[in-house]
Symmetry: C2
Subunit: 93 residues, 2 copies
């Protein structure tokens, strides 16, 4: 089980991730695309990363917007795995 | 602009769609799959139907569950387009 990060660690990691925000015990970011097709293609790319990481974000598709929500369910909050996956996703977008 | 359906019409159409529920001015259904991969494959199939219909459901992926929410934004509620797309999606699942 990965260790929960403390508030200071979370703030430090968030500072390195543009557009991600702390929401309760999760981090989330809204990605906007030119159209629905591009939004779905992004979902597919994130799904590939999620499978490799065995760590699955919640994904909300609203037409050309995709909101990703990350947290470590088994740990009950944010861990290193969430920030690693967020960083991987940033390299894809 | 498609016409808004009245409550009686909505009830009648919902009766023909297993698992879809009225939520405010939308209809929604939660689909459960054996794994994340299957859930994403379903999202992709729904996206293809949505593109053909030019009508785009909100889609929420939560690990192996996909929740679809349909309504006609331009009409401010439920129209024939929503029930047609829901019926198409039922044939895919």
């Amino acid at each position: 089980m990965p260790a929960l990060l403390c508030a200071a660690e979370i703030a430090q990691r968030l500072a390195g991730l543009a557009g991600w925000q702390l929401k309760g015990r999760t981090i989330e970011k809204k990605f906007r695309f030119g159209g629905f097709r591009e939004a779905i293609a992004f979902v597919d790319r994130v799904a590939d990363l999620a499978e490799v990481a065995d760590h699955h974000p919640d994904m909300l598709v609203h037409h050309r917007e995709v909101t990703l929500v990350l947290w470590t369910h088994a740990a009950g909050g944010l861990t290193d795995r969430d920030f690693k996956l967020a960083a991987d996703i940033e390299r894809v977008d």
